[in-house]
Amino acid sequence: MSLIEKAKSHIMSRRSFLGATATLAAGAAAAVTLPGCGLQKVDSSVAELADKEGEWITAACWHNCGGRCLNKAYVADGVVVRQKTDDTHEDSPDYPQQRGCARGRSHRKMVLGADRLKYPMKRKNWEPGGGKKELRGKDEWVRISWDEALDIVASEIKRIKEKYGNASFFLPPGGSGGDMEPIRLMSAYGGCTTRWGDVSWGAWPVVWQKVTGITTDNGSMAGNDRFRLRDSKLIFLWGANPAQSSQGTPTFNYLQAKKAGAKFILIDPVHSETARVMADEWIPIHPATDTTLVLGMAHHILTNNLLDIDFLDTYCVGFDADHMPDGADPKDNFKDYVLGTFDGTPKTPEWAAKICGVSADKIRQLAQEYATTKPAAIITGGAPARINNGEHFPHAIMTLAFMTGNVGKPGAGVSPNMHNRATNAGPVLVQPGASGLPAIPNPLAKSKINSGEMWNAVFTGKYTASKGVQKNINIQMVWNWFGNTLNQRAGTTRGIEAHRKVEFVLAQNLFLSTDARYSDVVLPVTSQWERLGGLLTGNREILIYFRQIMKPLFEAKSDMWIATELAKRLGINPTKAINPLSEAQMLYNQIAGAKVMKADGTGYEKLVTLTAEDIKELGAKGTPQTGRISYKEFKEKGIYQIPRSRGDKLEFTSFEDFIGDPVGKKLATPSGKFEIYCDSLAKAIEKVGFTTKSPLPKYEPSREGYEDGAKNGYPFQVITLHYYRRSHSTLDNVLWLREAFPQELRINASDAQKLGIKNNDIVKVTSRHGSVIRQAMVTERIMPGVVALGEGAWVEMDEQAGVDKAGCTGILDGHIPTGQGHTGFNSCNVKLEKYNQPLDPDVKWPQRIIF
């Protein structure tokens, strides 16, 4: 019998079973609804679009995120259908793929977000000179044309210049990269005041440079490359959390070291994501007290005959009275400081334990292990040195490594090898050429205010130029672009007041970020996806070539276009002064000038072969050239990754040359050696004019450090984390990421219990400088007495209650200049209380959609 007949007889018998009317199909299907997850009928235009064959294009993930990965967008007919990451080659430990993180993979949701700024707009109550300035941040917005916007900006600039002079323009650059277009324009227009002060690397840069004599690095490129790390027997990750702060390959690279046998000890107030993956031991510690732990370890090493005396004698000055630099008081040596010979306080493990919260026994064990397990590497993040007057920590921890000879040997080392350089120490192996855009010197280059004084200066009219030199300043215009300065520097509370005081505030941005929100006029700019393309660097082994993904959204324009149009209105010839090269030419210059290290490590060769046709396709002028790969390959893959293998000539350990030849390859310090006693460092800090530092590494409590809070009614310390949801403040508005990462306040379970706080309760966190509210995450994975909050949340003030609902750490951190002028985000004391108003999860908040 055929199937047709079988079916017939089945239906017949079925009907007799169920009753004649029940047809099988209808009877079955109607009973259960099918939820919306199958196919749906679409109209023909949608069908047509979906049918278009698209193309994978390398898309910029350009953020200052600590990683750099290959991200691609599948673009069909101008529509970004989806994204993927590196699949240009097989993944392996020696030749890893450069795969993206949650942020990079949600990028489409940012660039194409409904909250993109679409049109120029002005504050409703704005008038020349201000107009209800106190309404900045609260006023309504009015959509205006580009012409009107540019006219307003140009006339305010002219008016302010005439009335107050060029120094009253304050253009605080922020973030990394960007062509500084507004500063170009203002430099051509007579100059402007800018900002200075390290934000990311804490107190490392000046200390590193003075102690080692290397002025081209801040220490972050030092240590071992990823292959040499596999030689380490013991690795201290000290306040370093690459799993969160350096996404991309670093954690994977560390895992290879672990597989090769390295033991990992993590020192961190938080049991971080990295600790979860890597830690053989987690040592929680009070923030801003790491120096005492170092000194306690030094005391044990010193008093137990664990010193590498040869190393100290050969490569260092200042360790003991017999090895002091010329002119220094022999009593002022490190050994006697640690032993307490002259100050009566031996820096014993017991002494340290009382301050840092690590037990004396544990300190002895750490010291013993560090001094006897070689090679051992100490790798720190910026965090432990990102404290007020934080110069002692880098100096002390370098000294600890010198005492055990753990420098200059494969697998040893001490450095803040962090951010996108984590696990990738050494010279850059592949790099882009220069764009060729000539710099425009700022006639007011000396008018520069430190991050810790800039908002106060708006009120006091003064800033510190150097030791004992206070200069007058009258800031009347703030111009924000590229960064999110108001949100991302300490002292945001003061910053908001300052934004409400000056006569004109201008922002150009993709979104109504904090900077933009407190402005008078906001100009919508394009993202990198809407621009011609460019090259991105990350770890030292890759170079990414991203291309345009889509047309500019709505009326968004590039920063350069804005500078050019304003130049015309300010009577400056734009093509001569501001924008002499086409976008295409600048891109070509970068590609043609890209270079790659030769396999034998002796120097660079050209990376890209460019034929006359390639150059024509790029729309640029230039001469054909031969390089390692074809232009076509570079464009299609979107990345060049240098081949590496164990034992190749590109492996790197810093100071190998100096250790090999301490005389011929001596350091560029005054003594030619590592300076444990470092007079030039003390002088440099003193010259800055905020605080002083002894030439020796010592423990000096930070302003608003651990000791200060308990006695002053702020019993908790808050630390700021790089947070999965965003890259600093960028991507904070992406709903996917908001849902996945809620911006929680981490608090230890014992503290929570004392305060009657349960998981998800709303907690008010108050420092001397401001208050935020957030939901609690009660956990054992943080030291008691410490709370942690991700940095970068976009301020959302409840003006009536005086609290920031978003949990922006800039609100809590003080506007405090110390040391080399870096920002001390991790020395900040707070008190906590349960907050009795509800707080919706961030993902439920209305998006900042204006038009």
């Binding site: 047709i4 089945h10 079925r14 979906a50």
Partner: protein, 230 residues
Amino acid sequence: MTKVNHASSRVTPLLELRLFYYDFLRRTFLMEPTKDFLVFVKNSMIAPDFPLASESGMILEGVQQIKDYLSKNDIQSETVCNDLHWEYTRLFIGPYQLPSPPWESTYLNEERLLFQKETLAVRKAYLKYSFLPVEFGHEADDHLGLELDFMFRLSELCLEDNDQNGVDLRQLLIDQKSFLEEHLLQWVPKFSQDMIQHAETDFYQGMGKILQGFLTLDLEALLELLTINS
């Protein structure tokens, strides 16, 4: 080409059974089992003989296993529901390595990746009839549940009045046959093996067998239907 008003024609019963099967299968694979779904399965198993089961050893075995499962487990109980829910999650969703990933592209390309050229080919087939996944762009088009839903939709069209909607029955049958040959039968045999091997419940082992058994049978059915409609 003949246009048959098959509402009364002799092929209708077979067309109806095909509709039933694809409905049964798409519901099984599109999403985690709900209580309603389990009741539906149970009801489908009440009749003395499951349609066309006698034509395929695989179907017969599968039906038996599911009946066994249902006789030993009360689908109204939370535990049973949860067990089946977990089984579905483990087999087809994750978080761990999926023993039987329900996407064509993971079986047909070497890297076992999603959203590959197979996905686009499947989409083209859907688009001929203006269908797209509800979650277009998020869920890969070549998910087993969607492919079965597509067969279901075309089976539905087969039963509609052709004169009115202008779709030609023969063409529908041809398109279903090619979709079956070019897509489902390319990978389901391997998929259902994996599923049968890794499923821990008789319920899902049985489903794997019914799936494999029916798709093989349906190719025969389509051939027969096409001979009649030529």
